[in-house]
Amino acid sequence: MENNLVIKAENSKSYLGFWIYILTDCVVFASLFAVYATLHNNTNGGESAQILFSMPLALTQTIILLTSSLTSGLAIIAALNKHKTRILLWTVVTFLLGSLFLFLELREFNHLASMGDSWRASGFLSSYFVLVGTHGLHILIGLLWMIVLGLIIIKKGLTAKSMKGLVMFNLFWHFLDVIWIFIFSVVYLMGHMGL
């Protein structure tokens, strides 16, 4: 009974459905990456990625997000051990890291916009803001999800249903990690190298 909570048959439908949802979201990001690839040289007379983006900041964001993925994984391990307080603890840590990530991203957006390099400036910056911003929007949804999940676990304990929610949340959060790796490589690394 204990560990079977994760792979309970009635949950497997939801897991498959959620995987397919993630696939569809991958296609959304694929489209946005394609748009970025097409437009990233159309700077409309403004600065290019090489000058605008800060590598140390992007690296810090990466480390924060990857660490949050680790902590959300630790929440799953705590759930398998049926350790309610530890689940909540790791979820809170994940939430804080996610919020910090989002804060840094919004600060960078604000910084760029105040310098006159907003989404209105060029096709390049439009595609940058929307690609990275869509990832940020997903992070925001993940944060809301964590709040709801945490409240459900506090109130109802670790039921099969909340376990299902926790597993799906983890899939979602790791997926956002993978997308961020691509953003880091394509937008920041390749931008830094002037590609």
Binding site: S12, K13, S14, L16, G17, I20, Y21, L23, T24, D25, V27, V28, S31, L32, A34, V35, T38, L39, N42, T43, N44, W119, R120, A121, S122, G123, F124, S126, S127, F129, V130, L144, V148, I152, G165
Partner: protein
Amino acid sequence: MMLANLLGLLNVDSFRHDIIQNVGVGIMTLSIFFASLALTYFRKWKWLFGEWLSSLDHKKIGVMYIIVAVLMLSKAGFDALLMRTQQSLSVGNNHGILASQHYQQIFSSHGTTMIFFAAMGLMFGIINLAVPILIGTRDVAFPWLNSVSFWLFVSGMILLNTSLAIGDFSGAGWLAYPPLSELQFSPTVGVDYWIWSLQIAGVGSLLSGINFIVTILMKRTKGMNLMKMPMFVWSVLGSMTLVVFAFPVLTATITLLYLDRLVGTHFFTSGGGGNPMMYVNLIWAWGHPEVYILILPAFGIFSEIVATFSKKKLFGYTSMVWAIWAIVILSFTVWLHHFFTMGAGADVNGFFGIMTMIIAIPTGVKIFNWLFTMFRGKITFSAPMIWFVGFILLFSIGGVAGVLLAVPPADFQLHNSLFLVAHFHSMIVSGVLFGYFAGIVYWFPKFSGIKLNERLGKIAAYLWILGFIVAFVPLYALGIMGATRRMDHYSPSMGWQPLFIVAGVGVLIIGLGLLTLVSQVLYSVYKHVENKDRTGDPYDGRTLEWSIPSPAPHYNFSILPIVKKTDDFWESKQEKRSRDLVYKDISMPKNSYIGLFLSSGAFALGFGAVWHILWLSIVGLLIILGSVIARTLTEDTEYTIPKEKLILDDIQFYGEGK
């Protein structure tokens, strides 16, 4: 001042229209008024909400999809009639009945409504009705999500029709190419209506896609492995796979267009580093698969019908499955043939031209498989078969015209001409619509318990076939003579008027066909006592749906069937196999209003976004979030049907001891 802020861009002028549009608004308002009056008079409001609008039963959701789709088909058909009237009259000094701007809105709304709300609605309607029963299960994988999909479809539909009464609709064609659809050239809210009605309905389709893939993969009854599934289920699996790969591209693309219009980004603008051709590429990366999303289930329906009415196993089952998956994959490699004239270069055009010709091969395989199924079969030419024969003839002609258009040099001549319009109507009317009509007629006894009147059914099919030929063959000729699409006025020296008049007569014949089709249903329901299907198997059918009573009970199967072969019901009849009468209690999903509530939030979000009413959009978003959370917190989502009830139901239909 305060009020003006609360209403965004809305003002009194948003409600002022010309006479033709006012008549449309009047008809719409009166219909809603009389429908409400009738519901009040017969005291049916409670029944409507309790039994239907809140239902999670896949069959009821399917019926509602079809009702909405037929309404939209009539509305967009009326648009077609207006267009042909304009083109028959507007020659030389006469400028017809419509102003150019209004004409543009009409052809944009015709295309949008037909694809998204008529064709997609019929498709999801039939999939909902048939797929769960065909795979031997009691419901879809996520019944609540299914109702959310349907209600998002409805709220997209309502948003589109709101544009008739409040503001205007997009005049930028059914795919709203930039830079025309950008704020600079389309400053009114029309394009925003287009964006948001598609966005909302599109998310609904996406959720349906996920739902049916999981249903087909996880909910098949015992013994039905993939290669024993009815061909319709295979075609739906192919189509839904396309949905989950293609619709996210639509969602992303029209979001970018909306951002261009709302916050001044430069994705598709001509200046500022934007790239309008990128939009055209992206929209067709969704748009071409969309064509196959629509046609594959129609192919599946014909596969079932041909086998049933030829009393033969479907010829070449395995090759049919491979043909479906070849189409699924190839459909992502041909999108550029929609704009050979972009100037991508001879090599790129050559590649996409060849891929387009190659995709005709699996389609040809299917045509031959159907013909070989009929060969030496005991064919009954009932109404669904008439639709099928019409489809084979007209679809093949349209397909050959398509292969002609796949040759880039020929396409440079015929691009944007009425030849193209005739070609894709051949695919979508005589392919998609004929298929779905045949499917509705074929499965009608199963979900209603009433057999349809054959005579009226055949007349309807013949009228549609005749009307189609009269309406669209002239367009092939006109296209070759140089008539372009979306044209509202021309010089008499072109000599096109007679052909346009003939095409207009064709639209009238099609309209008559639609009326006959509807009267076929109404007449048969009126005479329901003598048309009652008492056997549950009116055609001596082959697949599982005919093994249960008609109308199908809401739990579908009192005992879940165990499948041994392809076309298992037919085989079990031949072997006189009897089923084990082991009844068990079953649990079914309870009705839920949350899907309906959620979609009202989606409408508020969309309407607010169209008119820049920020508070309304926020309210809509909160309603959506709240509904999802409320559903997550709902514990008690199922109820139990005791086995005694199942036994009683079975005895009532089959009689004692069967």
